[in-house]
């Protein structure tokens, strides 16, 4: 019997070679496999046990981003081992920024099925693909065979409608959703985002939403591709023809559930440590006058040029609090070059901000902005776990680039709306 399908079921079907539906176990062909400067290191030994050569060297992507350039001897050792592996296999290594950002700019096409040895792999779903996070052993098997086994996941459809108020961004949308779902609410599921608000968002803004879906445990997150996707591909010098008539969920597709959100009266939100669902309006947290030691504007969640445009406009008429360290890490080399071309780098540095090399850096506490006991950080990243950015006694608050920029001005957690025209 031919039944209507979700977009996820369609993408899995295309990669399995027959119609498949949620709940089935399948072995699927992959379009791309990604492993980075730590997860790739752990994939080498299992790979060597089962294969001599990678399945297709054009379909394996190795970025050095989690700790690059190497901050210590141990990381230098891991990267050296990966370089040797890459040389032997004829693979190139990319050092141009955070893996998910580079993949979105250069590699992910609507309708793709991609495996990434990194938990934030769902990010790429913002382009209308299924991009799944796995560990190093699955990545090793995929590098050897070009395949992975999956249980085709059930889909939860999330419709977001309404007009975003001034000072409220896609980060606030996903924090609103995270509050509702909690850290396990999307476990094993596909979260499929639609509705007028999502349709109106650019791909970079959608990537923030798919990226943070990982924090709810999802297998993947997806936004059906549309004109905004075409525009993004074109802006990144890519041509890809996808059939919008096919690449979407059918009318009678079976969702596990459908949820509705409205953003007409949404306010800037912030996730308090140590969980992503401890979400409050920034205006409420502002009343507590929480002193901020570090502001981190970076990561695969939120440091694209659109984010830095907001920061730039907010800082035009304001200096930054000198007691707060403000770190800006453009998500990729492309974003860094855009930041320079727009004159932002000079402006940010004159304001006292620290510009770091594109990469993951402070987000996971490996280098560049590690926190000490009792320090508070407002971060545009995706994880506020205990010890994530350094000391287990530090406090990480997650918010939009606008909230981070406002907090950098005042030196305490601050609602951004008063700084936005």
């Amino acid at each position: 019997m031919i039944m209507d399908q979700t977009i996820a079921e369609k993408i899995f079907s295309k990669h399995v070679g027959r119609k498949v539906y949620a709940g089935e176990f399948v072995v699927a062909n992959l379009d791309l496999v990604m492993a980075h400067d730590t997860t790739c290191a752990w994939a080498i030994a299992p790979f060597r046990k089962i294969a001599k050569k990678v399945w297709d060297k054009k379909k394996i992507f190795i970025p050095f981003d989690h700790a690059f350039p190497a901050p210590n001897v141990q990381m230098a050792k891991l990267q050296s081992e990966i370089r040797a592996f890459a040389d032997e296999q004829g693979l190139s290594i990319t050092v141009d920024g955070v893996c998910h950002q580079i993949m979105s700019e250069r590699l992910i096409n609507p309708g793709d099925l991609i495996l990434g040895a990194d938990s934030h792999s769902p990010t790429g779903g913002g382009l209308g693909a299924i991009t799944v996070g796995v560990g190093s052993t699955d990545a090793a098997i995929a590098m050897a065979t070009g395949k992975c086994w999956f249980k085709v996941p059930h889909t939860i459809r999330i419709n977001v409608n309404g007009k975003l108020p001034k000072g409220v961004f896609s980060k606030d949308i996903i924090l609103m959703i995270a509050k509702k779902f909690g850290p396990e609410g999307g476990n094993y599921r596909i979260l499929e985002y639609g509705g007028d608000t999502i349709r109106s968002l650019s791909v970079p803004a959608r990537l923030t939403i798919t990226n943070m879906s990982a924090e709810m445990g999802v297998k993947a997150a997806i936004v059906e591709a549309d004109d905004n996707t075409k525009k993004y591909l074109k802006e990144n010098d890519r041509e890809y023809a996808f059939d919008e008539k096919i690449l979407h969920s059918d009318k009678n597709a079976r969702y596990e559930k459908v949820m509705e959100f409205n953003v007409d009266s949404l306010v800037p939100l912030i996730a308090r440590p140590p969980d992503i669902d401890r979400v409050s309006p920034v205006s409420e947290v502002e009343k507590q006058k929480i002193k901020v030691d570090q502001v981190f504007i970076g990561s695969c969640t939120n440091c694209r040029i659109e984010d830095l445009d907001i920061v730039y406009s907010m800082w035009q008429k304001h200096t930054l609090n000198p007691k707060t360290r403000t770190i800006i890490t453009p998500a990729s080399k492309k974003v860094y070059l855009q930041t320079m071309a727009k004159g932002y780098v000079e402006f940010f540095m004159k304001r006292g901000a620290i510009m770091l090399t594109p990469g993951c850096g402070p987000c996971l506490g490996r280098h560049g902005g590690v926190l000490y006991d009792n320090e508070v950080c407002v971060s545009t990243s995706n994880r506020n776990f205990t010890g994530r950015m350094g000391s287990a006694k530090a406090f990480i608050y997650l918010a939009s680039p606008a909230t981070a920029a406002a907090s950098a001005i005042t030196g305490y957690i601050t609602d951004p709306r008063k700084y936005i025209k």
């Binding site: 080498i44 990194d118 052993t137 699955d138 506490g365």
Partner: protein
């Protein structure tokens, strides 16, 4: 013994990012819960159990979280639910990863696993609890992980795991 943990134990607590920079299992064993429960790595013994609440292993995809616990000699991780990448990483490494109600398990309780009956027996309290131990997970446990399974059965044998 049983090492008891609560809900949402993430992989940053198991193998924190700053220490998580080696491929050596013995080194990884030393950093298990290094900040969250500093006495763990020193006192854990071969055959001990990890007992968790909901969403055990959430967060990063780092497989070292499993490698580390396996190298510590952990026999099985039993929790009310698991985050998907961690669960998959456990299966791939041949770690017993079991879904069950863990509310009544205490540190010194003696546990016995029955794969056929899909039960955990608490011999100390003389109670049995239903446990989810899928065939796929048990096959990989018995094979010593998916890499050993593929070495023995060939790269195309993945489909046999669930057929």
């Amino acid at each position: 013994m049983n090492w008891l943990f609560g809900d949402n134990i993430n992989t940053d607590l198991i193998t924190p990012g700053r220490y998580n920079i080696t491929t050596d299992p013995h080194e990884l064993a030393k950093i298990a819960f290094i900040e969250h429960r500093p006495e763990f790595a020193k006192n854990v013994k071969q055959g001990d159990y990890i007992i968790g609440g909901n969403n055990f292993g959430c967060g990063s995809s780092r497989e070292t979280a499993v490698t580390s616990l396996a190298a510590c000699g952990i026999r099985a991780i039993i929790a009310k639910s698991f985050a998907r990448i961690f669960y998959r990483n456990c299966m791939n490494q041949g770690m017993l990863v079991i879904v069950a109600n863990t509310d009544k398990i205490e540190e010194q309780d003696v546990l016995e696993l029955d794969f056929k009956k899909q039960e955990i027996t608490n011999k100390t309290k003389k109670i049995s609890t239903t446990a989810t131990m899928p065939t796929l997970m048990l096959k990989l446990y018995k094979a010593g992980g998916i890499i050993s399974y593929l070495q023995k059965n060939g790269l195309n044998s993945v489909k046999n795991l669930f057929e």
